[in-house]
Amino acid sequence: MRALIQAEWTKFRTVPGWVIGMAIGGVLIVAFGLLPGIQGSCGQPGSGSECVLPVGPEGQEVSDGFMFVHRPLSGDGSITARVASMTGMLPPGPNDDKMREGVAPWAKAGLLIKDGTTQGSAYAAVMLTGAHGVRLQHNFVHDKAGKPGPPGSARWLRLTRTKEKITAEESADGTTWTTVGTVTLAGLPQTVQIGLFVTSPQHAEGANESLGSFGSYGGPTMATAVFDHVTPVGSLTGTRIGGPANKYADELGGFEETGEGVFTITGTGDIAPAVGGPAGIGASISDTLLGTFAGLIMVVVISTMFVTAEYRRGMMRTTLAASPRRGRVLVAKAAVVGAVSFVVGVLAAAVVITLGQKVLRDNGAYVHLASTATELRVIVGTGVLLGVTAMLAVGLGALLRRGTTAVTVAIVTTALPYLLVMSVLPPTAGQWLLRIAPAAAFSMQQSLVEYEQVANLYLPVDGYFPLSPLAGGAVLAGWAVAALVAAACFLRRRDA
């Protein structure tokens, strides 16, 4: 097997066109990545915007904007209140320009304990949501469901601090209480802020699920909640955390004490991890790898030709006379172009991830932070994507034998689905395709995290893939294995 791989490697490296083609594939990825594609206004002179997102206690970039009606709490203590009602406003639909009445599904009204009023500081909150029942959330990324209950029904909530432990309880009647959960906020200081909060996130909605004309619309939303039975009643201060958020915050954000222990609070924003896409902001490091499809096409063409050229020249007979164990020949070919493509992908992605981010930031685009581990996974993932796709192309080349047919089929199988998804396919069809096509492996380039508790469209065009990196890679690997096994069977049975 070693001799076979060495022979195939010698074959590959001694045809200048193939080596150059692979290099061009890498250059294309880098070129697309360094082109100033995405523009923004962050840090541009005169805009006054520095585009810095607060960072949560666990290192993620977060949104932290809400109306907080609070008082200091020293040591242990608790707060109890009933969310009597929630109302809200949604952005106009696609065909009108008037605000609509309604509560966003992830609008939140409830009780909050927070380490001060700085954005991004540690917190725990129990809340009633627009459509997701009672939730216990803390430190932006953690979310635990309480009882669902019909939307809009009043709910009693209680938040109790015992040293670093925060316990959330809920009740339908204020008499029978059930515990939602207990969370630990490590390093919570002696004095914290405790109180009532209301917020309502950015809304995004898909419109026109048809070929080529998909659009999304949305905008800020707003929620107003009436709290009563607030105990203990003390002197509460209203603070708008986050901002300058939007027009609702400016015009409507605020609170009113309308009676003894009765507060009407209006807020907008979100307490959640920051996301990209229609309901989020900014670009991700994955956006710099936009050119991967171009590199992939080069890799696919050369890998297919690595096999079909031998059929065209009659050299397959020389190869098979030298190595009568035909399955191994195929494996050696796949291993060689797979390894070359992997290296091309890793090198190109490493350059693009490093330099491309800087280009985007220099253009004023906001680029979401990604951990080193995520960057490494995206870089290695790009290599795996190219490498395994190259192996699939070898299988297709051996199955189809004719160069033009095989190259066409290989491109239609690998690169075309991705391009369709990213251009004209409606999101539902696109997500379906990205679960079954070899292009599922593009998920290995995803750097943004999808959160169930953050309302967003999470579309492939925004860098959200339906499968996890591992599952996407497995789908591609399945295709490659199937093609190679089928090709090996045919190669063994057919006359050379």
Partner: protein
């Protein structure tokens, strides 16, 4: 004394409705050049592909030293072959073409340089094979066949595209290889190419063996003891016929006599006082022998089409 090294036994193969091989059987012995001749379409190339494990026969076997080709682990060290000299990646250099083949057998680059020199290709070793003439490609193919220093060589039409000088070189080369004790199987559709080269000939037509004999036997069978006599005398024919010979005119003043030995013809002429300018035993060419043997095969093909 004969040690069979290629044993082809009862090969049958059809391509659709065409019968390519119809019970092909023969053996190849070491130390001599075996010519494998027959008209185009007789099944020579298919037989060679089966020997090399490239095509699978419908029935029958082809063994190399008792083993099927596909069971050989470093096949190029057992059998060197040249099927299609044009089977080259044009942008790869001659040396690199041999290099990947060498690597596939675990051989080194040194061996590559040796065979390049043996084939007289050292000066063009680093040129792209795509620019080679057919003759140079044949040399490169021969170099590839010799990479593993194999005891058996299977060469399909190696004279194709060679200039006269190349043909002479190739003949000498093949003889040298056989003298080294190798078994050399060379196919050709032109018998003349094998004249003075092959020791043994396997003549095939329509997918089966028509004749399998040494060149000496084949020539003797075709010549059939004929004597050519050049004379102006009208009596010569009568005298020879009276003495029991079969006489035929073979041109103006030329008689072809069979049934009488050369010295008997000379004695008869002298005894009867008939003058003659030449008398010679007829030497059949391999070409004549071949044409005689393959006439049926060719005619059948002409009719069946």
């Amino acid at each position: 004394m004969n040690k069979t090294i290629i044993a082809v036994d009862g090969l049958r193969k059809r391509f659709g409705r065409t019968v390519a091989l119809d019970g092909m059987s023969f053996t190849v012995q070491p130390g001599r050049v075996t010519g494998f001749v027959g008209p185009n379409g007789a099944g020579k190339t298919t037989t060679m592909r089966v020997i090399l494990g490239l095509d699978a026969p419908d029935s029958g076997t082809a063994l190399i030293g008792g083993q099927p080709y596909r069971a050989l682990r470093r096949p190029l060290c057992h059998v060197g072959s040249l099927l299609d000299a044009g089977a080259l990646q044009p942008s790869r250099t001659a040396r690199n073409h041999l290099l990947w083949l060498a690597h596939s057998q675990g051989l080194t680059a040194r061996r590559v340089d040796e065979v390049l020199e043996g084939a007289g290709l050292t000066t063009v070793a680093r040129r792209r094979a795509g620019g080679f003439s057919l003759g140079m490609r044949q040399r490169l193919g021969l170099a590839a066949a010799l990479l593993g220093d194999p005891p058996v060589l299977v060469l399909d039409e190696p004279f194709n595209g060679m200039d006269p000088e190349g043909i002479i070189w190739m003949r000498g080369f093949l003889k040298t290889l056989a003298a080294q004790g190798r078994a050399v199987l060379v196919s050709s559709h032109l018998m003349s190419e094998l004249q003075d080269t092959a020791d043994h000939v396997v003549v095939v037509g329509r997918g089966r063996v028509i004749a399998d004999a040494s060149v000496v036997q084949l020539l003797a069978a075709t010549a059939n003891g004929r004597v050519t006599l050049r004379t102006d005398s009208a009596r010569a024919a009568t005298v020879l016929a009276d003495a029991g010979g079969t006489v035929a005119a073979a041109g103006v003043g030329v008689l072809s006599v069979s049934g009488l030995a050369t010295d008997a013809v000379v004695a008869l002429m002298n005894a009867n006082g008939i003058g003659f300018s030449e008398v010679s035993a007829h030497r059949a060419t391999l070409e004549e022998a071949y044409l005689e043997l393959t006439r049926d095969a060719v005619e059948f093909k002409a009719v069946s089409r």
